[in-house]
């Protein structure tokens, strides 16, 4: 069973939350972030190159321009690989644990798995815990679903 909703993050971009309900004990939440906008990319590149050109007129050294190009490329690659998040997924399996996957724009995926026995409770922390920086309403949705599952799990654990 799938469900899609649209929220916004703290910077105003559009986030899409997809909820998949596989079974009473297994749910998945998928948060998709907006893509890298051409506008911001152009703005950053232009500012860097303008600064480099300004330095060049001061120093008359053409190495600065090549260095600026190099820095731009490397910076963009680094940003895509380490900072820009494409999608974040939270998978809860009742008796097994919680798995959080972040996939970056360059294709890198980083996964964290927490065993259920180590999870006492799920809370909304004041600092944003998901790198996609969703707003409170999105977080509340996820939180509610997670608490349902946790309650269900506790019931089956303590029950017969």
């Amino acid at each position: 069973m799938e469900d899609e909703q649209s929220f916004s993050d703290i910077c105003g971009g559009r986030l899409a939350l997809q909820r998949r309900y596989y079974s009473p004990c297994c749910r998945e939440f998928c948060l998709s972030c907006p893509r890298l906008s051409l506008r911001s990319l152009t703005a950053v590149t232009c500012s860097v190159w303008l600064a480099a050109y300004g330095l060049f007129t001061l120093c008359e050294n053409s190495m600065i321009l090549s260095a600026a190009i190099f820095i731009t490329l490397v910076g963009l690659l680094g940003y895509l690989h380490f900072v820009k998040i494409d999608q974040e997924t939270l998978l809860i399996i009742d008796s097994l644990g919680i798995q959080m996957t972040s996939s970056y724009a360059s294709g890198k995926e980083s996964t964290t798995f927490i065993e259920m026995s180590k999870v006492k409770d799920i809370v909304i922390n004041e600092a944003i815990y998901m790198s996609a920086k969703p707003r409170l309403d999105c977080l509340i949705e996820v939180y509610r679903s997670c608490q349902e599952i946790l309650a269900h799990q506790k019931a089956t654990a303590t029950g017969p």
Partner: protein, 654 residues
């Protein structure tokens, strides 16, 4: 009820067959370890499982069936598989089915005793990478021997139970479907252990290669430890030159890396790998240095610059001596002694410069060949450099030694005669100062000599001071190189941390400064640091942990504890200068010398007499000299300071 099935990713493409693994009832999860392919004989499967269970103490059973339809779905296979459930009964019976090239699987778990409220179990399929789970150690350690066979330790909870199961079922993975055994299994080994033929060849070839190299290295070490190399001059020289030490370390490490025995546990393997990597890095850096050095005639330039530099240093030293022979800093020196010492040192410099000029035509060739040693590693090259510097400044070191010995002798004489002045005597037997009644002529001569020594003191003290400063300046230079060596990667670097006294050339008797600059005699540690350069004698013990950076180790980690030399009770309460005068400062080799003297003194005379005439080689001093030469390092013949005996000028220098 949810049933978790852990399925290995390597079996996803396996043919149909039986699922074999372990059922963990506490978590209602089934860990599938392998797939048994058709055809098989049930009895043999049961035998295999029983054997595995006995060896690995994991409750391995048949869990269910696996069906992989490669062609159109076969109805007969389905019935056949259901019939298998009757042969191998297991609660619950797992049935996994996969269509050809399809992502959808069918998972069913049926229970024989269908209870009233039980509907069909839901199956949660979890894929796991068998090899990684096998190799990771996220499970508790092996079960205690007193547990019965048949089940894992109950303390493994949650996922740790899965890891535990897979890790302990190694016997099951010994045979796979390509073997000729009765039962054909599919598990992670079926994927092939190594896909690259080059790696296979390398692993096969590494055995004989390691044997050959270790044999060569043992040959080398046998040669180096044969009787020729144990002769005294060679061992002495070898212990002083840091190059020999480095080469020895390198040999040690190479023999460890190429030893034919496999590493017993991951720590050893890590250590071996660490050592190999650091040796490779060292050699790579050394080769880079070599290529830089041999290009553009740099060696020629270096050789050309070397002799003028030595000349320059010698000239500066000559200026210094001329200054000392005049009126240095306005002090008035004793003319005769001044001239003698100054001329002696000048002649020394002249000799030294002649030697350097004599070898100057060969320097370039020597440097070229020595530069080749850089291919053994950067640390060897740096140690060679430090040795070269040490050899070039050898004369400065000699001056320092001469000045120190002379000064020491003078101070000994002065202290002894001062005691005589006051009517006291050093009792060697009791290690204390006793009163003594001297004859009149003894007193007269003693006073005379005392006056002479006192008036000669400034000259000697000044020479001593100047040359100590110069030699320490040179030593600072070498300290930089040694620090670099010590910070080198652990296997290649020196053992101890940066050793301030490593540049020195042997054990000197502690130079005594009776002034406020005196190193406090009651601090035992400091004696080891500044004037006791004996770092080279310390490498007898192998490094305890070769993969620990030496800088993190305490400086004296492997050294014998500093020997506490407590002065006698009477001297402990005295303030420092008096304690010094009474011999509390004497380091241990003087102790040894005194022990020797004690024997001879007991033989020779009782207290109250002057034991020997001022002859150049007092026979009484002979045995003492003999016992303590073991401590001597440079053979400059520093006699044990017998300040404790009433006459110390009876013992000659070189």
């Amino acid at each position: 009820m949810v049933l978790k099935a852990f399925f290995p990713t390597c079996c996803v493409s396996a043919d149909s067959g039986l699922l074999v693994g372990r059922w963990v009832p506490e978590q209602s999860s089934a860990v599938v370890l392998a797939v048994v392919h058709f055809p098989f004989i049930p009895v043999q499967v049961r035998e295999l499982l029983a054997r595995v269970q006995q060896v690995s103490r994991v409750g391995v059973t048949v869990l269910g069936t696996w069906c992989h339809h490669r062609q159109e779905p076969q109805e007969s296979l389905g019935h056949f598989l259901e019939g298998l459930g009757a042969i191998f009964s297991h609660e619950p019976w797992l049935q996994l089915c996969r269509e050809r090239d399809s992502k959808s699987w069918t998972c069913k778990a049926t229970r024989r005793q269908a209870s009233a409220a039980a509907d069909e179990d839901q199956v949660l399929l979890i894929f796991y990478d068998q090899r990684k789970v096998l190799l990771s150690r996220l499970h508790p350690p092996a079960a205690l021997p007193d547990r019965q066979a048949g089940d894992a330790t109950p303390s493994a909870r949650g996922l740790a139970a899965v890891f535990d199961t897979v890790a302990r079922s190694e016997t099951l993975f010994r045979s796979d479907r390509f073997d000729e055994g009765p039962v054909r299994l599919s598990h992670w080994q079926s994927e092939g252990v190594e896909a690259s033929i080059l790696v296979e060849l390398l692993t096969r070839a590494s055995g004989p290669v390691c044997l050959l190299l270790s044999w060569l290295l043992s040959l080398l070490s046998a040669v180096s430890s044969c009787w020729v190399c144990r002769l005294w001059p060679l061992t002495f020289v070898g212990s002083k030159l840091s190059t020999c030490e480095q080469v020895r370390h390198r040999l040690e490490h190479l023999s460890l890396i190429f030893s034919p025995q496999k590493a017993q546990d991951p720590t050893q393997l890590m250590r071996k790998a660490n050592m190999l990597v650091s040796v490779l890095l060292d050699v790579a850096l050394g080769l880079a240095l070599l290529s830089w050095l041999h290009g553009k005639n740099r060696i020629g330039q270096l050789a050309d610059a070397l002799v003028p530099a030595a000349d320059h240093v010698a000239e500066e030293l000559q200026h210094l001596l001329q200054w000392l022979m005049g009126a240095p800093a306005g002090l008035k020196m004793n003319r005769a002694l001044d001239q003698v010492l100054g001329r002696f040192f000048l002649y020394h410099i002249h000799l030294w410069i002649s030697y350097v000029h004599l070898t100057s035509p060969f320097i370039e060739r020597i440097l070229w060949h020595v530069g080749l040693s850089a291919c053994l590693g950067l640390t060897v090259a740096v140690s060679v450099l430090s040795d070269i510097i040490a050899l070039l400044t050898f004369h400065i070191y000699c001056f320092y030694v001469y000045g120190a010995r002379l000064y020491r002798l003078k101070i000994c004489g002065l202290s002894s005669l001062w005691r005589l002045f006051r009517g006291k005597k050093w009792n060697v037997l009791r290690q204390r100062v006793d009163s003594c009644s001297y004859d009149l002529d003894q007193l007269f001569i003693g006073t005379l000599l005392f006056t002479i020594l006192v008036f000669l003191l400034p000259t000697t003290a000044l020479y001593y001071l100047v040359f100590t400063l110069v030699s320490r300046a040179v030593w600072m230079l070498g300290l930089g190189l040694d620090t670099g060596l010590a910070q080198a990667p652990a296997p290649g670097g020196r053992r101890a941390g940066p050793d301030p006294s490593a540049r020195g050339r042997g054990q000197l008797p502690a130079p005594v400064l009776a002034g406020p600059a005196a190193v406090p005699a009651l601090q035992t540690g400091s004696w080891r640091q500044v004037p006791r350069p004996s770092a080279r004698g310390w490498q007898a013990s192998p490094p305890p942990d070769a993969d620990e950076p030496p800088a993190l180790q305490p400086r004296d980690a492997h050294l014998p504890p500093p020997q506490l030399r407590l002065p006698p009770q009477a001297l402990v309460e005295l303030p420092v200068p008096q304690a010094l005068l009474r011999g509390a400062h004497l380091p241990l080799e003087a102790e040894g010398g005194q022990a020797g003297l004690r024997d001879t003194a007991a033989v020779r005379s009782g207290p109250g007499t002057l034991p020997s005439r001022p002859t150049p080689s007092g026979t009484g001093a002979g045995p003492a000299w003999g016992t303590s030469t073991a401590h001597r390092s440079w053979g400059l013949g520093a006699a044990p300071c017998s300040c404790s005996s009433p006459v110390c000028w009876g013992l000659p220098l070189v």
